[in-house]
Subunit: 399 residues, 2 copies
């Protein structure tokens, strides 16, 4: 399925007009002088910007309600309300992980996303059915998008006996990453939960990605437990903390202390730029060299009604939340949604250098900064040399 | 220019399929049984939602950079940096208030805005040139949108001798409302500035709309000075406080005390739902019966690069900032951007009742809540019975 292609009249990262030559799905040339060998199909770029594929580094493909009609939000305000309501509605509404993940994937492709890290619920009610559904979608769309799966104990790990064994089975079946969440607030046994999560990671040689919504000092305490285990097991560079609301705390001395350790242990941070919660200060993290990525989180699911999987709009939301106004700041927000995701997910051959996978997006804008604030429909999306979306519409179909 | 029109197959506020009959620019009938008399043109509604016109209750038409090419943000982080940088760039870049306001107005019409309250800078350098430019735009587009103008001392009032006389001249020339800003932080003489602002309002019998960015206790102090003058002059119901960041303070006892007085004095509050600043809690204000409106604030100007004048997207941003998830909450966000603006601006004949001005918008969505989170391009925009936009594109042209 991978292809040869020449894209003419594009401005890589806003630079000088160039052409991009793709051979066998890899970048073979990019510059003003690049030309196509005979027989290579040509796509006119129309003067658009060329950026690398957008990276959706945190979402929940298994539970979107896309295409199921409007369903009013039912859950109460607490985290546990959302978890319990979701388990109930999954039964009542028949939220099919295979169908729903395919629908969201197709929407993501239309917006220029070329890589996804998805958390998939595993619990004692669902077992591995969510994982199996998302794995089927990953397989069905493997030529047009890369999907990495986190085995995610959404309903708690120790609190629900049997979940640990299911996570282990999930890793054997095909999940890539060990997930976790709120070791104090949900499992009420932070050391026990984190020992179990890191134990699995060690045993299977897999990275870790932990949802940490706990704010303030409670979140800081959980982070310290994560730091201790990362260090003790030599897992530097293999741990991600998602949300990390405690890094948005007003106590900047506490936050600075946490950031020192995050940088030293090369822990990645995922932030959606939530407008209603404290959030990690992106510029401060990046200035310390911390890998920062972003994601849509849930899209139209039982947790909330928002989202349409556009990671360029996400860059705008990150910019609004972080009070970014200058071009270099808006470019940083874009970088979080491209290279940042690639760095966190350790994607091989990601970028615009010769030899990188030809996963690229064309955006009609004057500058990268304008692309972020205006986030117009993507002119063209290419995955490993294959055109997968035009003018905001994905070519692959959803069920 | 006002017209007769029948719009069929619409769902008013998400209700049962209906038709809307417009005669001489007013709503003559709305319901399932409504039919057109002979000779009235018919617009098929395609099953879209019908909502009243969107209300842009706080923007700055005189200074957008729309259509002037991408201009990187230059100003420093403080409010005074933005004010000083803007005065300089207005000269250097030739930001023409007439042309720029027309461009933004046309963009607003395309998104379904039927009423605008704009603040227009008046200072000792510009004199009344900004006001004259926006008044020319108001006149040029008077058949397709209603524009109310606030005479706004952006660079300070007492701090720049001569400004007060210019504001007075502006009100004589055609401004509708007396503006002000940050009486402590900018003018450094809160009692003096507010006495001048309220003095003008009294003398001309005009309402007041004050930008108040001052946070925490400083903002609360300025608010109290505003309350005192509102009460002393009997100006209940005629004062608006824009931004009102101090109402987003963590000290909820202080905030509740302020809200008591705001409700008692019937002061209107404008919030953009800024993601990076403390903001007034919309649901709490509405529960007390306080009139709340919203606006885009500056759109692609020297203050910041964001914004495209879509008040339905603004409702989504309000929802994200206020953590709205339920349908009734999303409908509240929409109401702030429609009826809320009308209540704050005291718009006569606004709404969907028989006799109201036929200022309506068609949105293709299943529910009002979906209209907010998805904010698709508007199917149709009608101003006093005249079609002014189709499929997201305004019919009037911009310079």
């Amino acid at each position: 399925m991978t292809q040869d292609l020449l894209i003419t009249d594009i401005r890589p990262m806003g630079g000088a007009p160039s052409a991009l030559l793709i051979r066998r799905g890899r970048i073979a040339g990019l510059g003003p002088e690049v030309e196509a060998p005979p027989g290579v199909p040509v796509e006119p770029g129309g003067g658009a910007l060329l950026i690398p594929g957008l990276v959706e580094a945190h979402t929940h493909l298994d539970k979107s309600l896309l295409g199921m009609g409007w369903r009013p939000h039912q859950a109460g305000p607490r985290l546990i309300d959302k978890i319990d309501t979701e388990r109930r509605l999954k039964r009542e509404w028949g939220i099919d992980p295979r169908r729903q993940s395919a629908r969201q994937v197709v929407q993501s492709i239309g917006h220029g996303t070329t890589h996804i890290r998805t958390h998939v619920d595993i619990d004692t009610e669902l077992g591995l059915s969510g994982l199996e559904g998302v794995m089927a979608t990953r397989d069905a769309y493997r030529d047009v998008i890369d999907i990495e799966i986190v085995a995610f104990p959404q309903s708690g790990l120790l609190a629900r006996p049997g979940t640990l064994a299911l996570l282990e089975a999930g890793l054997r079946l095909g999940a890539d990453v060990v997930g976790g969440l709120d070791p104090c607030a949900i499992d009420r046994d932070p050391a026990g939960q984190l020992d179990a999560v890191f134990g699995l990671a060690q045993r299977f040689g897999r990275p870790v990605d932990i949802h940490l919504h706990e704010p303030g000092l409670l979140g800081a305490f959980s982070m310290e437990l994560i730091f201790e285990r990362t260090l003790a097991l030599g897992m530097q560079g293999q741990v991600v903390i998602s949300h990390a609301f405690c890094l948005g705390d007003a106590d900047t001395a506490m936050v600075d202390g946490l950031l020192d350790q995050i940088a030293a242990l090369d822990i990645g941070i995922m932030t959606t730029g939530s407008a209603s919660r404290p959030v990690p200060p992106v510029a401060k993290l990046r200035a310390r060299g911390i890998r920062v990525c972003s994601g849509s989180d849930g899209i139209r699911d039982t947790w909330g009604p928002y989202g349409d999987a556009d990671m360029l709009e996400r860059a705008m939301l990150l910019g609004l939340r972080n009070n970014f106004r200058r071009d270099d700041e808006l470019e940083m927000a874009l970088s979080v949604c491209t290279e940042g995701g690639a760095a966190v997910m350790r994607l091989p051959h990601y970028g615009l250098r010769v030899g990188d996978c030809a996963d690229v997006v064309l955006v009609q804008a004057e500058t990268l900064a304008e692309a972020v604030v205006a986030h117009p429909p993507r002119r063209l999306v290419v995955k490993r040399g294959q055109v997968v979306a035009r003018d905001g519409v994905a070519l692959p179909r959803a069920p």
